[in-house]
């Protein structure tokens, strides 16, 4: 059974159709990286998977459960899906340990001792055991994001969603977060990752998905998508992202023409 099965997913905000027929499958243990230009619908796709956004039409199954079914207990499904946000979204009024235990206690009804033990284990996993008593505001961005990962992991998810987890970080802090994610991938976690870190996608992804204009333009193993893209749009995007210093003036005019 696939971990995620999306078929013919459409999503509109008012009259703006952001997702225009997405079909995507993620198998257990796969790391799928989603890349694509700003506004192409990557975040929206991710947020549809745990129903932070209500799809307009189409179906999404997570571990066989149809989340788009009105009778589906979404809180139950969300327990099994960890999500990591660009802006970390740690709970500012709680300590690091409380951030990692609160959902264990309130949602999974684990006892205090057990929740603390699991929190300690997961904070150790992201290298932040000594910060358990700190408040989020006292941590660097990279540390906050690692706590956010530990918080999600403490719920024993079968799937992790990452929405540009390193985009809000200072460059020198990106590495520590990617290292944690690389570790997770190596342990066999199923991951759907929206990212602008092409080197990470190339190295860690089992599959890369390129989105543009609300559709999946092309997908395949990273070596293929990066090394030998089939579609012009993919090639152009990669050129712009990988060699931003060499984008020529004629291309800029073309890019502008596209968006007009």
């Amino acid at each position: 059974m696939s971990t995620i099965e999306i078929s013919d997913l459409h999503k509109s905000f008012g009259s703006l159709e952001v997702l225009r027929g997405i079909d995507l499958t993620v198998e257990p243990g796969e790391v799928v990286c989603v890349i694509g230009p700003s506004g192409s619908g990557k975040s929206t796709l991710l947020r549809c998977v745990n129903l932070l956004e209500e799809p307009t039409s189409g179906s999404i199954r997570v571990a066989g459960v149809e989340v788009t079914d009105p009778d589906c207990d979404i809180d139950e499904v969300r327990r099994g899906i960890g999500m990591v946000f660009q802006q970390f979204n740690l709970f500012g009024h709680l300590t690091v340990r409380e951030n990692v235990t609160i959902a264990q206690r309130r949602v999974l009804k684990r006892g205090k001792a057990e929740a603390d033990r699991i929190a300690a284990a997961n904070l150790g996993r992201v290298g932040l055991s000594e910060k358990a008593k700190a408040y989020p505001a006292q941590l660097s961005g990279g540390q906050q994001q690692r706590v956010a990962i530990a918080r999600a992991l403490a719920m024993d998810p079968q799937l992790m969603l990452f929405d540009e987890p390193t985009s809000a970080l200072d460059p020198e802090l990106v590495g520590e977060v990617l290292a944690v994610m690389r570790g997770l991938a190596a342990e066999g976690m199923t991951m759907l990752v929206v990212t602008h870190e092409m080197a990470f996608a190339r190295e860690v992804a089992s599959r890369v998905v390129f989105m543009d204009g609300g559709v999946i333009v092309e997908q395949g193993p990273p070596a293929e998508v990066f090394g030998n893209p089939r579609e012009d749009r993919t090639r152009e995007f990669l050129h712009r992202v990988l060699e931003p210093a060499s984008v020529s003036e004629t291309e800029i005019i073309k890019i502008k023409g596209e968006t007009l």
Partner: protein, 264 residues
């Protein structure tokens, strides 16, 4: 000679001090000090007001304030949540309530609760006597203001907080209780403390309900003493006692706001 801007500023500042000092001297010199202290600072009148000024009047002022505050806060929280609800009639009701009670004078509402409602329903009464009427009469108005404050506080909590909580499998209610409201209340503590200060002063309206010697509050107590002794010193005593409540509170608000400013 041309003055540097710095020198010019210094001269202006010194001139400011001089003018202010002269003005004070003029007032002090012109005042009839014997008359003033005879009217407003009569030691025997002031001491005669104690201990009742504290054991009854100040105590009741504080009691009325706290009861109206707790009532207003509870109702205000409910209204704020209704205002933000996805259920349309709830939003309508909350909006109508808030607009209505922010637009009415507190005194009119107090009259309505103290006299209007009892006249309409002579066979029922608000429990708690004057205390009950004051709690409701002042609390209804306070609730409207506090609802708006709390709503702003809830909306000031970043949307990502609720999303992160929901993503962890919390229900909407659980996420509000454990994640959003605690952070919202931190944000609204300073404005709510201001609301207590306003309420403290509004308790001076309570006399219109016809208070007795045991339910009397500061302003009425001072007015009565003034009438009996034909001397305005009680007003000064009452004023000072109000400040005993309100000054520490406004000090507290300032401290909290400074701390919040540092944390951001």
């Amino acid at each position: 000679m041309k003055l540097s801007p710095r020198r010019r500023r210094r001269i202006a500042r010194v001139a400011g001090y001089v003018v202010f000092g002269l003005a004070i001297l003029a007032v002090v010199g012109a005042a009839d000090w014997a008359r003033l202290s005879e009217a407003f600072f009569r030691r025997d009148v002031a001491t005669g007001m104690f201990p009742e000024a504290i054991t009854i009047a100040l105590r009741n002022t504080i009691l009325y304030t706290l009861m109206a505050f707790v009532f207003g806060l509870t109702l205000g929280l409910v209204l704020a949540l209704m205002r933000l609800s996805s259920v349309l009639p709830y939003r309508w009701f909350a909006t109508a309530y808030i607009e209505l009670f922010r637009g009415l004078p507190a005194l009119l509402v107090l009259f309505m609760v103290g006299y209007g409602v009892p006249l309409a329903f002579p066979d029922r009464e608000i429990p708690g006597g004057v205390y009950g009427s004051v709690t409701v009469g002042l609390g209804l108005t306070a609730a409207a203001y506090m609802a708006e404050t709390i709503r702003a506080g809830i909306q000031a909590v970043p949307k990502g907080q609720l999303e992160a909580a929901r993503t962890l499998g919390m229900s909407h209610t659980r996420a509000m209780i454990s994640i959003v409201l605690p952070q919202a209340f931190r944000i609204v503590i300073p404005p709510l403390t201001n609301e207590i200060i306003l309420l403290t002063k509004d308790t001076s309206l309570v006399y219109v309900l016809g208070v007795t010697s045991t339910t009397i509050e500061l302003t009425k107590f001072a007015g009565d003493t003034l009438n009996t002794l034909v001397n305005p010193t009680p007003l000064v005593v009452a004023g000072l006692l109000y400040l005993v409540i309100t000054l520490p509170l406004s000090q507290l608000v300032r401290g909290l706001e400074r701390r919040a400013g540092r944390e951001r």
